[in-house]
């Protein structure tokens, strides 16, 4: 499956969705000019990936990590993030074991709280909340 890679900008995060190498992450700030326009291709890619693993069940009995490391994320982006996590959760029916790593910079209480709230909302998903020291 063709990877989806998007470079970071001042207002949008870096995206890497690479199923061949099992590297999935979103890093940076998210306050896009048009959230729908930015997140639609990401949601479509995840839908396609979900369809792929559901059709090839036996190949995906493994744990795969999705990393999220935001410095800032606004409410319209959180809404899309919520949708992304829902789609990842749906992948569990394939035997696939998704793991979410929610990173936040040290002292960034907002991002820590966002991670904790997502963890409460998705109690069927394994979500690790990890503090990161930035030099």
């Amino acid at each position: 499956m063709t990877p989806l890679k998007i470079e970071r900008t001042e207002t949008t995060p870096e995206i890497c969705l690479d199923s061949d190498n099992k590297v999935f992450y979103m890093r940076g700030e998210s306050l896009p000019e048009n959230s729908f326009k930015f997140y639609a291709p990401i949601l479509n890619w995840i839908d396609d990936y979900k369809d792929l693993i559901l059709s090839e069940k036996e190949k995906h009995q493994q744990e795969i990590s999705f990393e999220f490391f935001f410095e800032y994320i606004n409410s319209s982006s959180i809404k899309f993030l919520f949708d992304i996590l829902r789609k990842i959760e749906e992948m569990k029916s394939s035997g696939f074991i998704p793991k979410i790593i929610w990173k936040y910079a040290i002292d960034d209480d907002d991002m820590k709280e966002n991670g904790e709230e997502l963890k409460n909302m998705y109690n069927n998903l394994h979500i690790d909340i990890v503090e990161v020291v930035i030099n």
């Binding site: 306050l31 048009n34 319209s76 809404k79 960034d108 907002d110 909302m121």
Partner: protein, 173 residues
């Protein structure tokens, strides 16, 4: 809520003019550097940044833009003292919309913290619409974080429209 007095505050950011999604981003990009002389605490600056971002999104989602009319915005961010900032955002709304806006705002601002969290959860679960992808969610986020420190008011603008002011007192301690 007491608004700032001119002689007691320092202006961090003032903008008056048309607003669209591009101008919103320009304001936010400038705001990051505008805040630095006034606060070195990244958490405070982020808090202020979020309030401005969410209110601008709210204005864009709810305002005249959807009706293809001129879209006015006035934004006034000030530092009151070491720990307190004052933020006012003004836009124009049709008089015919006042009742529904007033009702929604009163509902949000009368909620308890737990009710706000429930509302946020419901809002996150609702379907995403391309043209209004976070309708109301940003205001709920601000209400959660700045509980009891938000107010709004209507002032006459023209025969068929009001100025709608949203006022937020941002406390860093």
């Amino acid at each position: 809520m007491a608004l700032l007095e001119e002689n007691q505050s320092e202006t961090i950011k003032y903008y008056s003019g048309n607003i669209d999604s591009r101008i919103r981003l320009d304001i936010l990009k400038e705001l990051k550097s505008d805040l630095i002389p006034f606060s070195s605490d990244f958490r405070v600056n982020k808090n202020i940044f979020q309030v401005v971002d969410e209110t601008l999104e709210n204005v864009l989602n709810y305002s005249f833009e959807s009706q293809n009319k001129a879209n006015f915005l006035e934004l006034d961010l000030r530092k009151l003292n070491t720990y307190t900032f004052s933020y006012k955002v003004r836009n124009i709304t049709l008089k015919s919309d006042r009742e529904i806006i007033e009702s929604k705002m009163n509902e949000i601002f009368s909620l308890s913290q737990d009710d706000i969290k429930s509302k946020i959860f419901s809002s996150l679960q609702s379907p995403i619409l391309p043209e209004r992808n976070n309708a109301g969610l940003g205001l709920l986020m601000i209400a959660k974080k700045h509980f009891g420190n938000i107010a709004f008011s209507f002032k006459d603008h023209s025969n068929d429209s009001y100025y709608l002011d949203i006022l937020v007192t941002i406390k860093s301690k």
